[in-house]
């Protein structure tokens, strides 16, 4: 009977690994083909699939630029927007989360419940009104319209609150007060250095969210010099590129490779950050 049990387990284990490998292939193959095709010439791509990179990366890049797609500018636009969004999100969300966690004040409970509610509100309910309002203020086609709203980023505050609550810091705060530190000074000099892992996780999510954001930028930004990478991707769909497959794949790869690099470096932070919202309500 014991033999039978062991046999069953190994059969099941084999089946499980088989399913995992199939799922992995489904997950990775499209991304791999994209990256490989970015290095192959259009002729090679038309001859058939390959899983090995070729040598036409720079040629594809020249074709892409030659057709008027300013990839470097899109890249720097996206980078500028993502970095500013990250800084604004992390600083203001940590500030708010610290205010909730470190102080007792009237309405505190109500305020933290309200933030959970805000996370659930879809942007459909605000985007059109936001657009008209920004155009009255003359802020359409301006990155400020994409960055400033992040001062009140409910999802990030919720994350920051969960993170800070898991840290024991009351003693440190009291000690800093006895040493004569100001309340804002305690936040900047005592809390922020301690909260670096949480702030990093929050920052990575903020960066990726901004880098990937298409809809809001698409609605608010109109001049082509200010296009971000996802908006340039949309122009890649046009007729000009119809037959330039290598260049198209290269353009797409340029938008996702930075994210893959970030993920390779910080996957631990990212994976651990995902479940935080779900586990503690």
């Amino acid at each position: 009977m014991f033999e039978n049990y062991r046999f069953n387990t190994s059969v099941i284990r084999f089946f499980v690994y088989l399913v995992l490998i199939i799922l992995l292939a489904v997950t990775i193959i499209p991304i791999w083909i994209l990256i490989v095709n970015a290095t192959r010439s259009t002729t090679e791509i038309q001859q058939g699939l390959s899983i090995f990179p070729s040598t036409h990366l720079f040629e594809n890049y020249r074709i892409l630029l030659g057709k008027g797609l300013n990839l470097p500018r899109g890249f720097s636009n996206s980078l500028f927007l993502a970095v500013s969004s990250t800084v604004v999100t992390v600083y203001f969300s940590m500030l708010t989360a610290y205010g909730i966690v470190a102080y007792e004040f009237k309405g505190k409970k109500l305020f933290s419940n309200f933030i959970v509610l805000l996370v659930m509100i879809p942007m459909q309910l605000s985007i059109i009104g936001f657009y008209q309002y920004m155009s009255k203020l003359g802020l359409t086609d301006n990155y400020a319209a994409l960055i400033l709203p992040l001062i009140a980023n409910a999802g990030a505050v919720f994350f920051g609150k969960q993170y800070l609550e898991s840290m024991i810091m009351q003693d440190l705060i009291d000690a800093a007060r006895i040493d004569g530190a100001s309340e804002l000074g305690i936040f900047h000099l005592v809390m922020m250095p301690l909260a670096v892992p949480g702030a990093a996780t929050m920052g990575i999510f903020a960066f990726v969210a901004s880098w990937n954001n298409f809809f809001n930028a698409f609605i608010l930004i109109s001049s082509i010099e200010k296009y971000t990478l996802p908006m340039l991707v949309q122009t890649l769909r046009g007729d000009v590129y119809r037959t330039e497959f290598g260049a198209i794949y290269l353009g797409l790869a340029a938008t996702i490779v930075p994210i893959i690099v970030i993920y390779a470096l910080f996957s631990r932070y990212i994976v651990s950050g995902i479940a935080i919202g779900a586990l503690k309500e």
Partner: protein
């Protein structure tokens, strides 16, 4: 002492003040403005707008376009949500099973999650390239005799819809695995040990321990996925012509809203009314989920370990 404590806690308001001000300016007012616009015939081209009452909403129900968009969004969301949760449950059970001892759980999870981080606009353009007439999928299918001749995938309603469903699933199942698994590992092992002593089978343990205790997590997954799914835009917008072709079969709520916004007149009053209706629909469904899946049985094990352990200060 009490005065200094009062002073100190007054700082709480100062710390949350930037958020509150930012929210009033960039969060609350736009929501109010969208609601207000939905009752007017405002366009981007004209200066003066009139209050038209519920006319925008009536007009949405006058033809089939809005209903069709809502239907498409639901179909695409449900068809990707069911396999997403199903696979997440299955993988979580395998990954946490002490008998199977799957190796490299962290690596598998991390790789399955990767598509979630990729630029959705690029993912849509990528699958457009794959499934275009001269794309690699046709090459492969024809070369290996799986199809007699190349076909226009993105002109077929079932193929295009199926593709959107697949891409949504592809991008989100890894995240659901991570969340469901975190929920499963937070269930105390002692419960299973006690059940095993009592001679429970593994399917009994799954139904009586795992499922009930996983409910808060499943509700969370359900509601966040619903709210996200009802906002689906990038993938269906960029996979075909931006109007939900073929035959408006992947025209989602948000694509319709965008089409009204970007129409030649820029009818933002009508666009707002689409947003407002979708919000009402989503909220009612989310509340329904909370209501029907709430804990009815007071004797059921409380999810005490989900809440904070201590709040002493």
């Amino acid at each position: 002492m009490s005065l200094s404590k009062f002073k100190r806690n007054y700082y709480g308001y100062l710390f949350i003040a930037p958020f509150v001000i930012g929210f009033l300016i960039f969060g609350l007012y736009p929501v109010y403005n969208t609601l207000a616009l939905s009752f007017t015939d405002t366009t981007l081209m004209t200066k003066n707008a009139n209050f038209v009452g519920l006319k925008n909403f009536e007009r949405l129900f006058a033809d089939n376009v809005f209903i069709n968009a809502v239907k498409n969004t639901w179909i695409i969301w449900i068809l990707n949500f069911i396999p997403q949760v199903g696979i997440a449950m299955l993988l979580s059970i395998w990954f946490t099973n002490t008998r199977l001892k799957i190796k490299g759980v962290g690596v598998w999870r991390a790789l399955f999650f990767l598509p979630n981080l990729l630029v959705p606009a690029s993912v849509a353009a990528l699958f457009f390239a794959f499934f275009s007439f001269y794309g690699p999928v046709n090459q492969f299918m024809v070369r290996y005799g799986l199809l007699p001749e190349a076909m226009h995938y993105l002109q077929s309603v079932p193929v295009t819809r199926g593709l959107v469903v697949f891409i949504q699933w592809w991008m989100w199942f890894g995240q659901t695995v991570i969340i469901v698994m975190a929920g499963m590992t937070s269930i105390p092992v002692t419960l299973y040990e006690a059940a095993m002593v009592d001679g429970a089978t593994s399917s009994q343990m799954f139904r009586r321990i795992t499922l009930p205790l996983l409910k808060p997590i499943l509700i969370y997954v359900f509601v966040t996925s619903l709210v996200g799914g009802m906002q689906m835009f990038d993938i269906p917008f960029l996979l075909t012509d931006g109007r939900g072709s073929p035959n408006a079969s992947i025209q989602t709520n948000n694509i319709l809203m965008y089409m009204k916004f970007a129409s030649s007149k820029g009818h933002i009053g009508a666009a707002s009314s689409v947003g407002v209706l979708i919000f009402i629909m989503t909220s009612l469904c989310a509340l329904g989920i909370f209501y029907f899946l709430r804990d009815r049985d007071n004797d059921a094990p409380k999810r005490s370990w989900f809440s904070k352990k201590s709040t002493e200060r």
